[in-house]
Symmetry: C2
Subunit: 342 residues, 2 copies
Amino acid sequence: MSKVKLQDIADKAGVSMMTVSRVMNNDPKVGAKTREKVSKIAKEMQYKPNIAARHLASSKSFFIGLVCDYANSSYVNKFLVGGLRKCRTTGYHIILDETTGDRDKTLATIKDLIEVTKVNGVILLPPVSNIPEVVDLLESANVDFVRIAPDINLTASPYICIDDYQAAFDVTEQLILNGHSRIAHIIGSPNQGASRMRYQGYLDALRSNQKMVPPEYIEQGDFTYKSGLDAAKRLLELPNKPDAIFAANDEMAAAVVSVAHMKHLDVPEDVSIVGFDDTQLATTIWPNLSTVTQPLEKMAELAIDIFTSPKKNKTFKVSNMRHVLEYKVQLRDSSKNNVKIT
Amino acid sequence: MSKVKLQDIADKAGVSMMTVSRVMNNDPKVGAKTREKVSKIAKEMQYKPNIAARHLASSKSFFIGLVCDYANSSYVNKFLVGGLRKCRTTGYHIILDETTGDRDKTLATIKDLIEVTKVNGVILLPPVSNIPEVVDLLESANVDFVRIAPDINLTASPYICIDDYQAAFDVTEQLILNGHSRIAHIIGSPNQGASRMRYQGYLDALRSNQKMVPPEYIEQGDFTYKSGLDAAKRLLELPNKPDAIFAANDEMAAAVVSVAHMKHLDVPEDVSIVGFDDTQLATTIWPNLSTVTQPLEKMAELAIDIFTSPKKNKTFKVSNMRHVLEYKVQLRDSSKNNVKIT
DNA sequence: CAAAATATTGTTAGCGCTAACATTTTAGCG
DNA sequence: CGCTAAAATGTTAGCGCTAACAATATTTTG
């Protein structure tokens, strides 16, 4: 058991405990020589800081609340694992908070997160990132928070997202380039900005390529496999059925693949299918899903970085507010991919 | 922000801080009247204990290390979410630890878990639960640990599992009852006891029903989708191909479904497929997987309970060592299910 | 070269809680 | 009732670390 404490190092190095503390925390006000000597000794003695003591003395908790609506989705899972990995190296800890719908309970649970767990910061995953009351609560409690793919009140907190509109535009255009003209779309949850953005990107890509969108090609889903199943059934029973379906996430796209199989349609020969997110699921079904890769793990890391990094005057720098990460259109086997851009 | 501390309650109740502390920790040595009065006041004042202070004073960390080899599997995900849920209500925290293969690195990372993070306990998921060096390390460091589905050194720690043998026996028998006689099996990772148990259960079910198992019906997988793909391809290209395939987990079963689709085989008409675990994946593909439901969430909760519950003389009670939970054979659409037990 | 400005290091005082022991109260019993 | 055992409560002393300020060394500057 490591019982090396600051004092031990201080004694060995012939300096005060405080100096050692400063070295450990990268405080700039330490002489170069001292710093080097101290950190060498610390390493030799295998010093490991005591998180609890640090927390108690500094009133920082090193806890980060991760609020989502339902933790069992492949989206949340991917984000979660990324976050947990980052935690492992930073000494932070994630408290998972599932809010399952009820608005009041959501608020209560977040309040609890702040008061009991004394989280250092809160990460809001969609759709919670778009609940005004939650944003208000966090603001008035003066708790730092980062939102993923928010849609409202964009100046309230730093946020991380990808360009959902452009990504949807790109996949749709890719579909067109590959020879599709009857492209349907399954919209995501209506309470998420990303759903709207993706829908709009899809629409605009078609429009800018002079393609018609019959209204029956637009289905409303809610990001669940189940909703994708229903939507896909309607879509693939249409008299003039689409030759490509773009679902707003992988789970719904997987459902479309399922329905295609049920109806003995060949994917992608009879119908191309693309998803969105590139979660584990995309490569655990056949055919592997063409999709948009969201760097969810990186987003999780970045979110935690934002809490970790020192802030100017108790508030976030404006330049740190907005993080739009790169996505990647990932073409796999569920969409026709033979026709190249001419 | 709750700033109510023990002293505040003590003042209000006219008792000492220590008495309040005892009430908060359910120490039996407090008079009934006092206990009631104090807890009433604490509730009124919305007292929330400071975890860090408690940790520092008691040298308990309230952290639990969860060690797995690869966090992105649906198995780990399901367990993780269950654990995180439990944590939310107990004030414990999970530190996720991925060990990705390398034996030395595994040991180093667990050592770090003990020394730096000062975890209160460690949960070992398979296959890590079966690495002798890890068990030794934990034992010699005198850290409490719980193993999930261990195979070796069963007295070293409490463990939680299901009866893999019987479950495999049951599904296989179910397959036979449903009219199958050419039943193949894809074995899981060779370094996991559960793989052996499931394999044996499968074998014995066939034997006790006087069914032959041609050697080419046995494929070695490693619990990954990829390995399932390879195995399924070989199986379904056999001249005398099986009419049912029992894969040792859902991921590999999903792969079998994929290959069946590739080969335009109808599931379950041409080939019945069953998996094991009942992870999210089982109901996110078509047809939904017949499988064995493992209560992974419950297992996670139980594991944490074991750390939480008070222990006799610094060690686990023998009666608490072994927890065999109930499984359930979950018949869905990927297996023929029309023939009932006669 | 001394005074002032700056950089570096040290001192003091807790953070909020609990273990361990000390003390008081209550119960038990002849 | 007095006296002891047991139960209930209180006191003391930190856990290991860091803020805030104090003190000292070093540099800069007129």
